[in-house]
Assembly symmetry: C2
Homo-oligomer: 191 residues x 2
Amino acid sequence: MARWEPNTPVRLVHAAVDLFTEQGYDATTVTEIAERAGVTKMTFFRHFPDKREVLFAAGQEIHSRILADAIAAAPDSAAPLEAVAAAIEALSATFSDDRREFSARLQALIAAQDELRERSASKHLGLVAATGAALEKRGVPELAAGLAAELGLRAFDRGFAQWADPANHQPLAELTGRALDEIRAATATLG
Amino acid sequence: MARWEPNTPVRLVHAAVDLFTEQGYDATTVTEIAERAGVTKMTFFRHFPDKREVLFAAGQEIHSRILADAIAAAPDSAAPLEAVAAAIEALSATFSDDRREFSARLQALIAAQDELRERSASKHLGLVAATGAALEKRGVPELAAGLAAELGLRAFDRGFAQWADPANHQPLAELTGRALDEIRAATATLG
């Protein structure tokens, strides 16, 4: 056995992305994913309800927590979008450069499959909701909290799409920070 | 045969909402929906791929068209959010008061079912994309177009949630118009 072995959910995510890339999403079964990750089907189902959730469930939970924690940790004086900027930066910082190639493959898989695009949209909304709820806890009114959260996650998605291109060499935090600046500037032009 | 008979997709939508309300979403089959609507299963599948799409496919297509047409028809001088306001008003105007009770039942069904909430989120994104694309055709830059579209559809969803309450007696266009004003005001408070 290898000295270092990543934990089971991570192994399942990587096995799933590898198999989906190699043989297609529809053609891949839970049994094959479990086998590739070296676990039983029962272990798979202890972590994920189906093969689609492998790509989203863990990310949604972890990212929601990172965003909410960063919002809570922002100084009391921070305006809603300043707190959101800190949260987007904290989340971006967790994507080190060695995750870029994997992220690019994951993005390509999602883009090619209705079912995955739909789940990705619902993950986006889940992260917006978690971020908005954290802002409301700081006393930001519900409407403003939802909007600030939406602008922040749009900036993250925009920066992430640029970053998940193997030709790009900038850190994710730089790209998402710039995207948030552009989005702030654009909101002033809407009339 | 009744003198007036609504068209098949509308009959299927109403049969589906009735059955989902009476006996639950999971327990209802395509065969039952077709039977209730007085058509064959084959006719059902000519209109919709599955029982979930009955609730969304037609609405998404029709609403996208109404929004895009209204954006295209706005005066050349209209700012992005002015064009969006006109589009939201046009869409709202299609919801006459006799659709309120049905809309309330549909909203309750969607709220109670993950699978339907997810599809509803993807419908929201589809409408944002259609509205944004119509704004881009007017020369609005992509980033601003997406934001204006998102703000408009947020206003629509907000007003719709208030309207789809049988206790409410205001026209939908009034509620969505006020919601858009509130959203515009809130964007100025984000920092």
